[in-house]
C-alpha cells in the first residue's frame, strides 16, 4: 500500500427511506420509519431525517421508535426494490472504477488510485459521482475521500447528509484528532469505557497516548488502535474482495416452537443464501446454523461438506440436520440464521454418484436465477419455503427487517 492511494467511501443517505420516497413522493418531508411491525418486537431498519429529529435511529426497538415518534409513517419495507436500487447505484460506481466493493446494500468503497487522468483529482471525481447518482436514481449520497478506507469512511459520516469531504494526503491524523473515539470503527461498548477510564476520549488522545503505552495495555490490539488513530488501514485494500461468508437470519415477530414454521424459515433462508452464493459465483464448503431462543441463548453449529455447493436444497438439508440436532422440540425460538462459510471460487471436482442429477439441478437453478433477476426473489420459490394456503406475496413473518 502506498501513501498515494485514493479511496472513496460512498454511503447512501437514509437509503431505504429515500427509495420509499421516490416510489411514493407523498412521503417526502414526513417522518418515515422503515422496519418491523410497530406493535411487534422487531427493530428499526431505517429512519428519515425528520424521524431522526425525534431521536429515532436504526437498530432501535421499533416500539421505542413508536413512543418517540408516534405520528411517523411506519413501513414494512420493500427489500426487492432496495436491492434493485442498490444494483443501479453499483453500476454507476463501476462506471468510475472497476475496483468497487459494495460492503452492504447502501455503502461501498471505490478505489480510484490511478484514475486521476480520467477523472481528475478525488474531489472532482467524488463531485461527479454524487451528481451522477442523484441524476440517474434520484438518491442522495455522501462521500468521504482520502488515502485510506478508514479515514474515508469516517469522512463520509462527517459529510452527511448529501455532502462531500476530502481529507488531503498528510492531514489524516489531524482530521481524526478532535473526533470522539466512538467514531472509530471497531471501538464499541467494550473498548470505549476502558479507554475513557484512561482519560482517552478523542482520537487525538489516542495518538498522544502513544504506541508503547497502547501496546503495553492492549497488546496486539493496542498496535492496531494506534495505527487506526493515525488513519492507516489495517488490511491492504483487496481488489473486489470476496465475502468470507454469506449469511441470512431472521427474527420472528413472535417466538415460535412450531416445527413447520421453523423448517419453512430455514428453507427460505437457505434459498437466500444459495442465491447470494451464485450471484458471487461462489461455492460453500461449510454450512452453519444459528439459533436464538426466547431466553436469548444463542447457539451456532456447522457442518463441512465433502463437495462445495451453491444449491438451495443441499444448504437446506444440512441446515435442517443441524437444526434437528440442536433444537429441543417445544423450545421457543426467537431467531434463526443460515450461513455459508469456507467459500471457494468453483467446484472443480465432478461427482460420481450424482452426475446426472447435478446437471439437472444446475439447469434448474440457472432458470430460477434468470427469473429472479427479472421479477425479483419472490417471483419463484420452493414450496417448502411458503406458508400453507398463503400466496407468496402475502408473507407476514419474514420480511426483511434489518440491514445486512
Amino acid at each position: 500500500m502506498t501513501a498515494t492511494q485514493s479511496i472513496l467511501h460512498v454511503d447512501m443517505d437514509a437509503f431505504f427511506v429515500s427509495v420509499e420516497e421516490i416510489e411514493d413522493p407523498s412521503l417526502k418531508g414526513k417522518a418515515v420509519i422503515v422496519g418491523a411491525d410497530p406493535d411487534g418486537r422487531g427493530v428499526v431498519a431505517a429512519a428519515s431525517y425528520e424521524a431522526r429529529k425525534f431521536g429515532v435511529h436504526s437498530a432501535m426497538p421499533i416500539r421505542t421508535a413508536k413512543k418517540l415518534c408516534p405520528n411517523a409513517v411506519f413501513l414494512r419495507g420493500h427489500y426487492e426494490k432496495y436491492r434493485q436500487y442498490s444494483e443501479k447505484v453499483g453500476r454507476i460506481f463501476e462506471s468510475f472504477t472497476p475496483q468497487v466493493e459494495m460492503v452492504s446494500i447502501d455503502e461501498a468503497y471505490l478505489d480510484l488510485t490511478g484514475t486521476e487522468r480520467l477523472h481528475g483529482g478525488p474531489l472532482r471525481a467524488a463531485d461527479r459521482l454524487v451528481r451522477s447518482v442523484k441524476e440517474r436514481t434520484g438518491l442522495n449520497c455522501s462521500v468521504g475521500a482520502s488515502t485510506s478506507r478508514l479515514v474515508s469512511k469516517i469522512a463520509s459520516d462527517q459529510a452527511k447528509p448529501h455532502g462531500l469531504l476530502w481529507i488531503l494526503p498528510g492531514y489524516e491524523a489531524r482530521f481524526l484528532a478532535p473526533l470522539p473515539i466512538r467514531r472509530m470503527p471497531g471501538i464499541g461498548k467494550v473498548t470505549e469505557p476502558e479507554l475513557l477510564s484512561l482519560g482517552i476520549s478523542s482520537i487525538g488522545d489516542l495518538q498522544h497516548f502513544g504506541l508503547g503505552h497502547l501496546r503495553e495495555r492492549f497488546g496486539k490490539y493496542g498496535e492496531w488502535l494506534y495505527r487506526k488513530a493515525l488513519g492507516k488501514d489495517i488490511e491492504a485494500y483487496a481488489y473486489s474482495e470476496e465475502p468470507k461468508s454469506i449469511s441470512h437470519e431472521t427474527t420472528f415477530d413472535e417466538d415460535t416452537a412450531d416445527a413447520e414454521e421453523l423448517e419453512r424459515t430455514l428453507s427460505w433462508l437457505s434459498e437466500r443464501v444459495a442465491l447470494r452464493l451464485r450471484e458471487h459465483g461462489l461455492f460453500a464448503r461449510t454450512i452453519g446454523l444459528k439459533l436464538r431462543n426466547a431466553a436469548f441463548k444463542t447457539i451456532t453449529r456447522d457442518v463441512s461438506l465433502g463437495e462445495p455447493t451453491h444449491f438451495d436444497s443441499v444448504i437446506f438439508e444440512n441446515a435442517l440436520r443441524l437444526f434437528e440436532g440442536s433444537w429441543n422440540p417445544g423450545d421457543k425460538i426467537r431467531l434463526v440464521g443460515v450461513r455459508a462459510m469456507n467459500l471457494e471460487r468453483a467446484s472443480f471436482q465432478w461427482g460420481l454418484l450424482d452426475a446426472g442429477e447435478r446437471a439437472k439441478r444446475e439447469r434448474a437453478v440457472e432458470a430460477v436465477d434468470k427469473l429472479r433477476a427479472k421479477f425479483g426473489f419472490e417471483a419463484i420459490q420452493v414450496a417448502r419455503s411458503l406458508e400453507p394456503g398463503c400466496e407468496p406475496k402475502a408473507r407476514k413473518t419474514r420480511r426483511f427487517l434489518g440491514r445486512e
Binding site: S304, G306, N318, Q349, L352, D354
Partner: protein, 371 residues
C-alpha cells in the same frame, strides 16, 4: 485378581487394543481397559461404544477376578519395562498393583461394573481367509468418505456369497470395487453389510497379527458385527442406511485404453503433483498417439510436465484428475506390474485397474475434474 504374564505378549495385546480406547474422556471408564483373569487365561477389552476389541492370552493366574486400568498409562508402562514377567494384583478401592523385577506401580483403577458390557458373540455365519479380507480392506478403505453428513458412505459395503466376495467403497468422487472368486465357508445366503471405516482400520491390525494363512470368523446380530480372528474379537456397531447403487456408475463404454508401467506412472504423477494447485490438487492428463503426458500448474509455484511413452492410437484427449485420488490407488496395488487406464471423455468417469491381478478383480473409478 492376581496373575503374571510375560511383558512381550502383554505389550502386543495392549498395542492392538489401543486404537479403540476413547481419547476424549467424556466417559472416563472408556479410557480404561477391562482386565479379566479366569483359570489360565487373561482377557483385555477396550471400547469406545462404537467399536470394541478384546483379546485373550495365556497367563499364570493365581486368583481369578477382574479390574479396569487406564489404558494409555498401562501401555506406556509396558513399553518401558524389561522383557520379564509382569505381575498384576487387584488391591482395595479398584487400585491395581504391577510388579516387574524391581519396578513397582500402583495404578488407580475404576470399578469393573462401570465398564460397558460387551454383547455376546452369536453363531458364526461365514469364514474367510485373512488375506482375502485384508486385501479387500486395503483396496477400498481410502475411498471411504470422511464426511459425516453422508453417513451411508462412512463405511464399505461387504458382499458375501457362498462362492464369491466383494467390497465396495466410495466418497462420491471415486469408487473402489474389489471382487474375488473365493469360497466362503459356512455361508448359505447372500449377505450385504456396511462396515464402518474405523472398524476396518482396527480389523486390519488384528488380521495382520493373525497372519495371512489364518481365517476370520464372521457373525452378526441386529446391531453388531463380530469378527473373530486369532483369539481376538472385534465388535462393531452396524452402519445402517442404503449404500448407493454402485453398479449404475461402473463405466461401460470406456474405449480409450492405455496400459502404463505402474511404477513409472506413479513416479511421474508424484513429481508433477509437486507443482499442482494446492487446493484443488488438479493435474491434467493428455493422451496423444504414442504418448501420455501429465501436467500441473499452480499460480503460486509454477508448472510441471512429464511424458511417458505408451501404446495409444485412439484420438487425442485431455482429462483432469485429483492427483491424490490417483496416488491412493497406485499406492495399494503393490510394486511393479502395469495399470490400465480406461477413459471415455473428459467429463466421464475414468477407470483404473491393475493389468495383472491374481486373487481379485479390482476396479477403481474416478470422476475427473474440470480443467
Amino acid at each position: 485378581m492376581e496373575f503374571s504374564v510375560d511383558r512381550d505378549s502383554l505389550l502386543k495385546e495392549l498395542s492392538l487394543t489401543q486404537g479403540v480406547v476413547e481419547r476424549k474422556t467424556t466417559i472416563p471408564i472408556l479410557a480404561n481397559l477391562l482386565i479379566e483373569a479366569v483359570e489360565s487365561t487373561v482377557r483385555i477389552s477396550a471400547t469406545d461404544l462404537e467399536l470394541a476389541v478384546s483379546s485373550s492370552f495365556p497367563a499364570k493366574v493365581k486368583q481369578s477376578g477382574s479390574g479396569t486400568i487406564p489404558a494409555k498409562r498401562l501401555l506406556e508402562i509396558a513399553r518401558t519395562l524389561p522383557a520379564a514377567d509382569v505381575r498384576f494384583k487387584l488391591l482395595e478401592n479398584h487400585w491395581v498393583q504391577l510388579n516387574c523385577q524391581r519396578s513397582s506401580f500402583k495404578l488407580v483403577g475404576m470399578a469393573r461394573d462401570n465398564f460397558p458390557a460387551l454383547p455376546a458373540v452369536p453363531k458364526t455365519i461365514a469364514t474367510l481367509p485373512c488375506r482375502v479380507l485384508t486385501g479387500m480392506i486395503n483396496r477400498t478403505i481410502f475411498s471411504i468418505s470422511n464426511e459425516e453428513s453422508r453417513y451411508t458412505l462412512n463405511g464399505a459395503l461387504l458382499v458375501l456369497k457362498p462362492e464369491s466376495v466383494a467390497m465396495v467403497a466410495t466418497d462420491g468422487h471415486r469408487l473402489s470395487l474389489v471382487e474375488g472368486d473365493v469360497e466362503v465357508g459356512g455361508l448359505k445366503n447372500e449377505l450385504h453389510v456396511l462396515i464402518p471405516k474405523k472398524a476396518m482400520g482396527e480389523l486390519v491390525k488384528l488380521l495382520a497379527e493373525a497372519g495371512e494363512e489364518a481365517t476370520v470368523e464372521f457373525s452378526k446380530d441386529e446391531n453388531h458385527l463380530y469378527f473373530s480372528v486369532g483369539g481376538r474379537l472385534l465388535v462393531s456397531r452396524v452402519l445402517t442406511g442404503q449404500f448407493p447403487n454402485y453398479d449404475a456408475v461402473l463405466p461401460r463404454e470406456n474405449k480409450r485404453v492405455v496400459e502404463l508401467d505402474k511404477d513409472q506412472f506413479t513416479a511421474a504423477v508424484r513429481r508433477v503433483a509437486l507443482l499442482a494447485d494446492e487446493r484443488s490438487r488438479a493435474i491434467k492428463v493428455q493422451l496423444d498417439s504414442g504418448k501420455l503426458e501429465v501436467y500441473s500448474s499452480s499460480g503460486d509455484y509454477g508448472e510441471a510436465n512429464e511424458a511417458i511413452e505408451v501404446k495409444y492410437t485412439d484420438s487425442p484427449m485431455q482429462i483432469g484428475f485429483n492427483y491424490q485420488y490417483l496416488l491412493d490407488f497406485l499406492g495399494v496395488i503393490g510394486e511393479g506390474g502395469s495399470v490400465r487406464m480406461e477413459l471415455k471423455d473428459e467429463q466421464s468417469a475414468g477407470q483404473l485397474r491393475p493389468a495383472d491381478e491374481k486373487i481379485f478383480r479390482y476396479r477403481y473409478i474416478v470422476m475427473p475434474m474440470r480443467i
